[in-house]
């Protein structure tokens, strides 16, 4: 900077020297006049540069730097550099902000920013769907005006935010949220919400499962112990005691079958998925399933089998057998006498389906989603007389899932039910040399 000052003083000094010379040789008036003229021209030059600067700063930020020289060029260059740096920094911050907002929006957890009066400042997509709000219309709205559950209001007002609140929402799908409030800058709060519907359902299911296993095993055990005490304490005639022993062994078998089913289930859950190299002979398997169903029915039902055995299935024979047999046996158990039970197998390019249709009493719609839960009973008093363990459909579901197959249940009260297992096409193996259609009555 000092150099530029010196430059200016130099210019002034030269002008003064020339003016002094002119004044000495030509006359003092001329000398003063020349000095004034040179100072004036310097002033005009500076004013012009100032005008350029003013013009430049009022232009858009990306206007070209005006051409200049000397000290002004220096000033323009410095201003230009500072301006450019600021634009860059601003851009970087804007990108950073946009990225953080995007990250916030994309979070699977609901996040809402609330100010000190609990007004919504910002929220992400998950929070919008969790609380049925919309940022565009509800910004500035007090959150407790829209999330009105008394428990939520109590949580907000209590101020004990170390704990989470489990909140069931009024949404149709019965969403359950775990909610936590986190203090944030400037008396703001972050409202975090997490979907715990599944977790809660699992907890309930596990609790029910333990209770059910104990109950299912205790019932036959109570009967056995009762008979044992009778046989021990009373003197019975041989025929009576044989009857009792038979009943006891029946209950023993019952407990055994429950435990067998539980073991099957646990091995289905823990074993690695079946190899797809093993080919299941569908024709033989279906015949076996039908025979078993007929034995169980003992002539009380008409069991028919329609099968298109042009394809075989790749999978585990024993798992598929137990799935199909369970479906067929269920139909026999729950269909009244003289009912009709249809077993169908069809295979094609879209995959294969195995279905069991009956004309029994049907199942009410509210029970259908829960049928595959362990020990779930539609009618507690009736199912046990029919000899089921309560685990059949759970086994079916697991065995099918291990073969990427799905179970569909359709039912109409008074008309009957249809259980359908659908296998994907890549599980099918074509059997081109023999196309046999088996039909039985």
């Amino acid at each position: 900077m000092t150099a530029t000052y010196l430059q200016h003083f130099g210019l002034l000094a030269i002008a003064a020297a020339i003016a002094a010379c002119v004044g000495y040789f030509v006359g003092p008036h001329w000398g003063w006049a020349l000095f004034c003229a040179s100072v004036l021209s310097l002033l005009v030059y500076q004013l012009r540069q100032l005008g350029l600067l003013l013009h430049w700063v009022t232009e858009k930020s990306n206007a070209p730097v005006p051409e200049s020289s000397g000290i002004w060029d220096d000033i323009f260059a410095r201003l230009y550099r500072r301006n450019r740096d600021q634009i860059r920094t601003r851009g970087r911050f804007a990108r950073l902000l946009a990225r953080s907002l995007q990250a916030g929006r994309a979070l699977p957890y609901g996040v809402a920013v609330l100010d000190k009066d609990w007004r919504i400042v910002w929220c992400n997509d998950a929070a919008e769907s969790h609380f049925s709000i919309s940022l565009s219309t509800d910004r500035g709205q007090v959150i407790t005006n829209l999330v009105r559950q008394p428990e939520f209001l109590g949580y907000v007002n209590a101020g004990n935010y170390a704990e989470t609140l489990e909140l069931s929402t009024p949404r149709a799908d019965g969403l359950v949220l775990a909610i936590q409030m986190v203090p944030f800058v400037e008396e703001h709060h972050l409202l975090l919400s997490r979907d715990v519907t599944e977790t809660q359902k699992l907890t309930i299911m596990r609790r029910d499962f333990v209770a059910n296993v104990s109950h299912e095993l205790r019932t036959p055990l109570t009967v056995m112990v009762g008979f044992l005490e009778t046989v021990r304490d009373l003197k019975l005639d041989p025929a009576r005691s044989r009857d009792y022993l038979n009943l006891m062994s029946e209950q023993g078998h019952r407990m055994q079958s429950i435990i067998d089913d539980l073991l099957t289930l646990s091995s289905l859950e823990s074993a690695p998925p079946p190899h797809s190299e093993e080919i299941v002979d569908i024709a033989a398997l279906l015949a076996q399933v039908r025979n078993e169903a007929e034995q169980l029915s003992a002539g009380r039902h008409r069991v028919s089998l329609v099968a298109d055995t042009s394809h075989d299935l790749a999978g585990n024979t024993s798992e598929i057998t137990s799935a199909f047999a369970n479906l067929a046996n269920n139909a026999v158990r729950y269909t009244p006498e003289n009912g009709e039970i249809g077993i169908r197998w069809s295979a094609g390019p879209a995959g294969a389906t195995f279905s069991v249709t009956d004309n029994g009493p049907g199942i009410e719609a509210e029970h259908i989603p829960r049928l595959t839960e362990r020990f779930y009973r539609v009618d507690r008093s009736r199912s046990r007389e029919t000899g089921g363990t309560g685990l059949g459909l759970a086994i079916v579901k697991h065995a099918l899932a291990r073969h990427q197959a799905t179970l569909e249940i359709e039912s109409e009260i008074g008309k009957g039910s249809r259980f359908t297992a659908r296998f994907p096409a890549n599980r099918l193996v074509a059997k081109p040399e023999q196309i046999v259609a088996v039909a039985g009555s």
């Binding site: 049925s132 219309t137 509800d138 709205q141 007090v142 407790t144 005006n145 829209l146 009105r148 559950q149 008394p150 939520f152 209001l153 009024p170 009410e364 509210e366």
Partner: protein, 234 residues
């Protein structure tokens, strides 16, 4: 409506609105609990509904007092006055909804203590109950957002509940004719159905107050003809 010279006045109005919605949340929970108590026989839920009743009543009295105080102190005009008038009416409707919920809970207790023959028959009425709860929730949402479009849509939904109420009654009549032993239970259920139908009507009233606050027009007892929601003529 939020630009008064007195910031204090704004705060008072805002607090009033929040209080109404808090009361609404309480009543919503009450109705939901009552219908659940009825459909799955959870009697502790029914007791909760009965207990909440006193809190709802306290809310009603408090809010009414606040309203008259604001009127005396601020002498509000235009929208503010309409808001306060609508609040006093909304509170009355909410309190009545609370009473209906109370009634449902009491009937639910009576029915389940008597022992029910077949709970499958209630599927229909539970559905109507869910529709009424949903309508109440949406009405309160419309009140919170002062959303006229939503309010108009909800008013038309009330018809669906009325129709369902009639079909429930018809169904109950057939049950009673089939088996006279079900008559006492069916009569109790009719009370519940009627209460649900009334809840729908009160929710509809709340929507009408929302329209009154925003537009200043009273749409009560008029055949609903909303120019805004009519499709444009081509």
């Amino acid at each position: 409506m939020n630009d008064h010279l007195s910031k204090q006045f704004d705060n008072e109005l805002e607090a009033l609105r929040s209080q109404v919605l808090q009361m609404g949340g309480l009543v919503e929970a009450q109705v939901r609990g009552a219908i659940q108590a009825f459909s799955n026989g959870n009697l502790s839920l029914a007791d909760q509904v009965v207990e909440t009743e006193t809190r709802v009543n306290t809310f009603e009295v408090d809010i009414d007092t606040d309203c008259s105080q604001i009127i005396v102190k601020r002498q509000p005009a235009a929208t503010d006055l309409r808001l306060i008038m609508a609040v006093t009416k909304t509170v009355t409707d909410l309190e009545r909804i609370g009473d209906e919920a109370h009634k449902i809970a009491r009937m639910a207790r009576q029915i389940h203590e008597r022992g029910v023959a077949d709970s499958g028959r209630f599927a229909n009425i539970r559905h109507t109950g869910d529709a009424a709860v949903n309508m109440l929730r949406q009405a309160l949402d419309a009140f919170a957002r002062l959303d006229v479009q939503d309010a108009m849509r909800i008013i038309t939904e009330d018809r669906a509940i009325d129709i369902e109420f009639k079909s429930v009654i018809r169904q109950l009549i057939t049950y009673m004719m089939e088996d006279p032993r079900t008559i006492s239970t069916a009569l109790d259920i009719i009370w519940i159905a009627k209460a649900i139908e009334r809840i729908g009507d009160h929710a509809k009233n709340i929507c009408e107050y929302v329209i009154y606050i925003v537009k200043g027009t009273d749409v009560r007892h008029t055949k609903v003809q909303f120019p805004e929601v009519q499709p444009a003529k081509v």
